[in-house]
């Protein structure tokens, strides 16, 4: 006979441990435990058999994996925490005695310094693992880099975050690894592909962040502490992997003048700083003004040639090198899509390379500078109010090919008409430079996402911008795709149903404005049934009335609806029989039966009816099949269908809105 197994001695009951017990086992306070968990990446679990784990108690509890906690027992940080606790006691004692100097000394000398290096290595055994987890780190650090310092967030932390973020941006610029970016209402999303890993992060717009409410900055601070260490090491690895020196030289003076990215000087591992290749823009040793003058001199004769080059740049995408991967477009719509690698770094590096950009002072400089540089542009100038480190801060620099502006256009006069031809002074929006392209900032983002230069006239200042679409959404079957025309997506008979509904809705709106959509659709069905029943004449009449829009006629029309209501459940066959009967009667009396007038409405109704019937049949068939499923499978199917139904409803809703908008637009154009 085997040993008698006691309940709760093995298995799930032993594998999990509640938080309270974990804290007791580690003999630390709850905040310390929290910090430790954040540092070590320990998280609670949801046991599969919760009842067994909680031994019958139904109270909501957090469970940790016992082995995780056991593993925490050997953590060197634990000793540091205990030391810290001891020192804290001493400091408190000193403060209690009023010995502030003593307390300061204790704090300065005795408080243990926590190093997280070993944890980084432990949590991310390979660099790829670290890259995979960089999303949250980057988002958090970019947020902190944009926060004001407060009592919770010391200025030192913010400076560190800024430094690390800029260093990372420099890596992305140098390695041309940025792939996608998106302007959302939350902030700006970026996605870079670094060593095969997609890293996406979100940078807030530069406004004062709302930090009120129940935000615990101690928790955030703990995360930031870990993430700064992680990003520091990641930066080191990234820099050294492309042969750069880490940390880059940091010019505090330039930074104080708002140079941001340009405050860092990237250096190669070799003796020379290969300035002009990848990071010529960064080596700011040259006096920018002198550089600007030199460039102007160099560019002065080129300005005429710039124009054709610009024109060529767009088709240049087609006759690219032959060693690149060609894009395969499916001919038939039902073909499978084979994934192809996205833009290579060489393409990325070449996107904005031949151009010189100038950022007007109302544009967000930091993201634009980062993006333009990441996509190959080496000469980005901006208004001097936007900070230091610009390629040129002279708006009338002739080497500028593109100017990014975000203001409505007002009446302009061409700068070339000014008498002093030597150095025309241009200033948007008073005057424009001939040959210079003026675009709104969204142009940059859309160009990057489509990895080609788009028509700048669509993005001209003051123009209504095309919608800005997320580059991450891949429309699946059955989902709405705003890129495709509506006709390609809608279901059979949907448009007709919509048009009818619209008619009735508008009609109903005339009557009572707050009518529900569903009711409208019901009405439609009823009135359409009357059409089917062969009361063509009357319907015609009623339609005329509708067009007249006479209000006193409405009750009569409603009565019609009521009449047809009674007949609405008569099947199609019945209707056909009635029609036949009428024909027979007409034949007998010798009258000629008026042929049914085919209006758009009746045509719509026919199409819609057909589609509806087909759908109904399909639905019936499906229900029949479902009857045969076992209970388990039926529930499963229900779950699956829930998702797809939701998706369908959403897509239909979007299509409906789109149709409405299109109709409104068409009406506006007609007027």
């Amino acid at each position: 006979m085997g040993k008698i197994q006691k309940k709760g001695q093995a298995g799930a009951a032993k594998n999990y441990i509640t938080r309270t017990r974990a804290v007791k086992k580690l003999q630390i306070s709850l905040p310390d435990f929290r910090r430790l968990c954040i540092f070590k990446g320990i998280y609670p679990r949801e046991p599969r058999k919760k009842k067994k784990v909680s031994r019958g108690s139904t109270a909501a509890t957090t469970f940790y994996y016992t082995k995780d906690i056991q593993y925490l027992l050997h953590e060197p940080l634990l000793a540091k925490f205990r030391e810290h606790k001891a020192v804290a006691k001493k400091i408190a004692k000193a403060l209690g005695r009023g010995e502030a100097g003593d307390a300061a000394r204790l704090e300065k000398n005795l408080v243990p310094k926590i190093k997280l290096d070993h944890i980084i290595k432990e949590r991310y055994p390979t660099f790829t693992d670290a890259l995979r987890d960089l999303d949250d780190a980057l988002s958090m650090l970019f947020l902190f880099a944009n926060l004001p310092s407060s009592e919770h967030v010391p200025a030192k932390t913010i400076a560190l975050c800024q430094k690390l973020c800029h260093e990372f941006e420099h890596y992305v610029i140098t390695s041309h690894s940025l792939r996608k970016t998106f302007l959302s209402i939350k902030g700006i999303y970026y996605q870079a592909t670094i060593q095969g890993q997609d890293v996406m992060w979100l940078v807030p717009y530069r406004f004062v962040q709302r930090t009120g409410g129940d935000i615990d900055f101690r928790i955030m601070g703990t995360f930031v502490e870990f993430y700064t260490t992680l990003l520091g090491f990641a930066n080191y690895r990234l820099y050294t992997s492309i042969g750069l020196v880490y940390p880059p030289r940091f010019n505090a003076d330039l930074d104080a003048q708002g140079a941001e990215l340009s405050a860092f000087q990237i250096e190669g591992k070799g003796v020379a700083v290969n300035g002009d290749d990848a990071h010529g823009d960064v080596s700011e040793t040259v006096n920018p003004e002198a550089q600007a003058v030199a460039d102007r001199i160099a560019a002065a004769p080129v300005t005429e040639e710039e124009q054709p080059e610009d024109a060529q740049a767009v088709p240049a995408g087609e006759d690219e090198n032959t060693d690149t991967i060609d894009k395969f477009e499916a001919v038939a719509p039902d073909a499978d899509v084979l994934p192809q690698p996205q833009a290579s770094s060489a393409e990325v590096a070449a996107l904005f390379a031949p151009y010189t950009f100038y950022l007007a002072r109302e544009t967000p400089r930091a993201p634009l500078e980062f993006l333009l540089k990441a996509f190959g542009c080496k000469r980005v100038g901006w208004d001097s109010t936007l900070g230091d480190g610009a390629f040129t801060s002279n708006e009338s620099d002739p080497s500028i090919t593109h100017q990014i502006v975000d203001r409505t256009a007002i009446a302009t006069e061409d700068a070339s008409e000014t008498p002093d031809g030597a150095a025309p002074k241009v200033q948007w929006p008073r005057s424009t430079m001939p040959g210079r392209t003026y675009v709104q900032p969204q142009w940059v983002w859309d160009c990057i996402n489509q990895s080609k230069l788009l028509r700048p006239d669509l993005y001209a200042p003051g123009a209504e911008l095309p919608p800005h679409l997320s580059p991450w959404v891949k429309p699946k079957k059955g989902e709405y795709d705003p890129n495709l025309p509506l006709q390609a997506q809608e279901l059979e008979g949907e448009r007709e149903a919509f048009e009818d509904a619209e008619d009735v809705a508008s009609e109903a709106e005339a009557e009572e404005t707050d009518d529900e959509d569903e009711d409208d659709e019901d009405d439609v069905m009823e009135s359409d049934a009357s059409v089917e029943a062969g009361e063509g004449m009357q319907v015609d009449g009623s339609e005329d009335e509708e067009e007249d829009g006479d209000e006193p006629q409405k009750p009569a029309e409603e009565f019609d609806g009521f009449d047809s209501d009674a007949e609405s459940d008569v099947s199609d066959g019945e209707a056909a029989r009635l029609q036949h009967q009428r024909e027979l009667e007409a034949e007998a009396t010798g009258k000629t039966l008026e042929p049914e007038v085919v209006t758009t409405k009746s045509k719509n109704a026919v199409v819609r009816k057909k589609a509806e019937k087909k759908r109904k049949e399909e639905q019936d068939e499906r229900d029949r099949q479902k009857m045969m499923l076992s209970n388990k499978k039926r529930k499963l199917l229900k779950r699956i269908e829930y998702g797809s139904n939701k998706r369908d409803v959403e897509a239909e809703n979007l299509r409906r809105k789109k149709r409405k908008l299109e109709k409104a637009k068409a009406a506006a154009e007609a007027v």
């Binding site: 968990c37 954040i38 320990i42 998280y43 609670p44 679990r45 949801e46 599969r48 082995k67 300065k108 310094k113 290595k121 055994p125 390979t126 987890d133 999303d135 949250d136 958090m140 947020l143 998106f182 302007l183 959302s184 209402i185 999303y189 996406m200 717009y205 530069r206 406004f207 709302r210 928790i219 955030m220 520091g232 090491f233 930066n235 080191y236 940390p247 109302e362 967000p364 900032p441 969204q442 209504e464 911008l465 919608p467 800005h468 679409l469 997320s470 991450w472 705003p482 029949r624 099949q625 009857m627 045969m628 499978k633 499963l636 199917l637 699956i640 979007l654 809105k657 789109k658 908008l661």
Partner: protein
């Protein structure tokens, strides 16, 4: 204050040392110093004093040298002329400093107030005049000075600089005797000599002495000095060597805890430890250690760290220098990444993504946790108009909470194509034919129709109902062709045609009796004759062997076979077999020689098997477990199925043993039917279930179908080769299924629901009572509680 003995000792000890220090001074001079004060600070000023005259009168009281001379002269020359002395002194007082003046005043006052005390004063002065030491010889024969105690009174050591009001310097005042003034004040003005002599005396005689008058002149100002009561008191105390303050105890009792005295009961009896006397080795060791460290440069003098050093520099290096991938741990669940933003998160989305008014209101009204999206899509025409996102920090905070606080669980994502779940059903076209519409309604019955049956040729339908009639309808026309009223009080519970085609016999049950009917005048004569022959054959058997039954069964036989009477016989009701209790179910054997009746209330005689050819009734079960609901013969084997309330038993009739017990899991079985193949049974139950049992599989049902809202009353397979079966339910509907059984043992039966036939009305919660299939065609007929039968085709 009592001088401390130890202190005193120290003083006496100091003396020779002092003489050692100042060797240039003569012994006598030193003597004088010591006699005047303890401190050396006065030594210089007192040199002269000691030198001049050791026998001065008021030596102990005054420090001023010239004055000493004068005083000494006074007291020596005319001690008895008190008045004179006072005047003289008053004259001299001018030049004295404040402290001296006090002394002088004190002295003068004494003299003045008590002239009779002159002698005492003399004594006192004599005592003062004595040297304050005695000379003895020490052990070596040298002279030894033994000093007296020094009385440390307040003025014994007065180093306060006198405030000079007369600036004539250190010269005797006698130099100014011939001048009207006595000197100059600090501003150089003459200080006039105060009035004196006879004029003064005359004045004194005239004037009453005012209160507080001392008769003294302030030596500094030359004006008469008035003293208050208190001041006088103070002076008096001073002269008596008393403490000036009132009520002050100069000698409080003192406890000598630590003294040189050896106590009899000391506080600690421990002998003085050695370490008090011997230098500590340990300390020396430690000191040497430190000395060594300093010499070697290990200990640096402390230097406060500069600001840059204080800010620790983070050192980064390649942590992943020797990276080794860790094998995947199944227990590790990586945190899911945040999903990328969709179209509607854009700052300038396509306008169809913008919420309309209703959606916006709904979003705003919803609780924050119920919102599907945490943002409301919004459109901004230009990038410059985009405001900051106010929940940014909050969202990031929530994300970090999720990272460390949210329990993680691995969920299998359903990546199943829903189409693959749905069974591959045969095409509905392939399933045809099956009944779809109501082709005929047989009306004319009163009350419920309880039972219907098709005749084996498929021409007639027999029905029996509450009105006690058995009616036969012609199928094609729907006309009632024949009827008979079997009973006035009992309903006809079951009608069943005999299944063979050679004859046409209808069995009907009303009350306890089962009637064998060969309907008169609707059959062809030869068929009618054959049928009558079959029925009549039994009479002979029963007559020839009357004893078997009576012998076999000692008591009353289970069934009585008799002729029903001429009235019935004229209609065609030829045989009446009566059992012990109400018969509810009749089921024929396939060959038509046997039929089974079930009377649920009959207990031991609930199930009876009747032999038509012998007019014999047998009770196969002596006792039956449970209440029998229905019984049926196997279509090909000698197996008999009996259904009780919740089990179905199959018995081998040849071997007379139990074969199988099926447990449908139903609460109350209403009816069963055996598939023509014999391996499958369908079971209808009052708890709304239709169960399909595959006898080869298990005792549990193969499929449980629950499509009815109410109890199922009857189930029936199509017997003529079509894979159909139907059930009838109290919800007024029939359901037609496709139930195909394949000969292959590996393949299970396919059951496909085909059609719900609705038409019967529900009366007093009863809907369709019975159903039967046409022997060949896909038609079925149903009996309804509404008094109609319906043919479905």
């Amino acid at each position: 204050m009592a001088p401390n003995p130890r202190k005193r000792k120290a003083v006496t000890r100091d003396v020779p040392a002092a003489s050692d220090w100042d060797e240039e001074l003569a012994d006598g001079l030193l003597d004088g110093i010591l006699s005047h004060s303890e401190g050396e600070s006065d030594a210089d000023s007192e040199e002269e004093d000691a030198e001049s005259d050791t026998s001065s009168v008021i030596e102990g009281l005054s420090d001023e040298d010239e004055e000493d001379d004068e005083n000494g002269a006074f007291s020596d020359t005319d001690p008895d002329e008190g008045e004179q002395g006072i005047r003289e002194q008053m004259r001299k007082l001018n030049t004295r400093d404040v402290s001296a003046r006090l002394n002088g005043v004190d002295h003068a006052l004494d003299l003045d107030s008590r002239p009779q005390a002159e002698g005492e004063l003399d004594d006192q002065t004599d005592e003062d005049l004595k040297p304050n030491y005695t000379i003895t010889t020490d052990a070596n024969g040298n002279t030894r000075y033994l000093y007296k105690e020094i009385d440390p009174v307040y003025d014994s050591d007065d180093s306060d600089a006198p405030e000079t009001t007369n600036t004539i310097g250190n010269i005797p005042l006698t130099y100014y005797d011939e001048y009207p003034h006595i000197g100059y004040d600090i501003n150089g003005r003459k200080i006039m000599r105060p009035a004196k002599g006879e004029a003064l005396d005359a004045l004194l005689d005239q004037i009453d002495i005012p209160k507080g008058w001392t008769g003294l002149t302030d030596p500094a100002t030359g004006k008469p000095l008035n003293l208050s009561e208190e001041e006088l008191d103070v002076l008096k105390r001073l002269t008596r060597n008393e403490v000036v303050e009132d009520g002050y105890d100069p000698y409080p009792e003192m406890v000598h805890y630590f003294s040189g005295k050896k106590e009899i009961m000391p506080l600690s009896a421990a002998p003085e430890p050695k370490r008090r006397f011997v230098p500590s080795k340990h300390e020396a060791k430690r000191v040497m250690k430190i000395v060594k460290a300093i010499r070697e440069g290990r200990i640096q003098p402390y230097k406060p760290p500069s600001e840059e050093e204080a800010e620790e520099e983070r050192v980064y290096y390649d942590v992943w220098a020797d990276e080794k991938p860790r094998p995947e741990n199944s227990m590790h669940l990586a945190a899911p990444k945040l999903p990328p933003p969709g179209y509607d998160a854009s700052y300038h989305p396509p306008s169809e993504y913008l919420p309309d008014k209703n959606e916006e209101a709904a979003w705003l009204a919803a609780d924050e946790e119920d919102r599907e999206k945490d943002y409301l899509p919004k459109n901004y025409e230009a990038l410059r108009k985009v405001p900051g996102y106010e929940r940014f920090v909050k969202e990031r905070f929530e994300r970090s909470l999720d990272l460390y606080l949210a329990p993680r669980v691995r969920r299998n994502k359903l990546n199943i194509d829903p189409e693959s779940l749905l069974p591959k059903l045969p095409n509905p076209e392939d399933l045809k034919p099956f009944p779809t519409t109501c082709a005929a309604i047989f009306r004319g019955q009163e009350g419920r129709v309880r039972s219907v049956s098709f005749d084996p040729h498929g021409i007639f339908v027999a029905s029996g109902g509450d009105d006690g009639y058995v009616r036969i309808w012609e199928l094609l026309t729907g006309r009632q062709v024949w009827n008979v009223k079997l009973s006035d009080e009992d309903a006809v519970d079951a009608v069943k045609w005999r299944p063979t085609k050679d004859a046409s016999i209808l069995a009907a049950a009303a009350g306890e009796s089962v009637y064998m009917i060969v309907p008169y005048s609707i059959l062809s004569p030869d068929v009618e004759q054959a049928s009558r022959d079959i029925l009549d054959a039994g009479w002979g058997y029963a007559a020839s062997k009357p004893s078997t039954t009576s012998i076999g069964v000692t008591n009353e036989p289970p069934g009585k076979w008799a002729r029903p009477g001429s009235k019935f016989e004229s209609k065609g009701v030829l045989v009446q077999a009566t059992v012990r209790s109400m018969v509810k179910i009749i089921n024929w054997h396939r060959k038509g020689d046997y039929f089974a009746t079930v009377s649920p209330r009959g207990q031991s005689s609930a199930v009876a098997i009747h032999t038509l050819s012998k007019h014999l009734t047998q009770l196969p079960f002596r006792r039956l477990k449970g209440i029998a609901q229905t019984a049926q013969f196997h279509p090909s084997k000698a197996i008999f199925f009996v259904a009780t309330r919740n089990t179905i038993r199959s018995y081998d009739l040849a071997k007379q043993e139990l074969v199988k017990i099926l447990q449908p899991g139903a609460k109350w079985i209403s009816s069963i039917d055996v598939h023509p193949g014999g391996d499958n049974i369908i079971v209808g139950t009052y708890d709304k279930r239709l169960l399909w049992h595959d006898l080869d599989l298990s005792t549990k049902p193969y499929k449980t179908l629950r499509f009815h809202q109410e109890a199922i009353r009857a189930v029936r397979f199509h017997q003529g080769g079509l894979p159909l079966f139907a059930d009838a339910s109290d919800d007024g509907s029939l359901q037609i299924f496709h139930g195909k059984v394949v000969g292959d043992l590996m393949e299970n039966a396919t059951i496909v629901p085909l059609k719900v036939l609705k038409g019967h009305k529900v009366k007093s919660r009863l809907g369709v009572m019975d159903v039967d299939w046409h022997p060949r065609e896909p038609w079925c007929v149903s009996a309804g509680a509404d008094g109609t039968c319906r043919l479905w085709s």
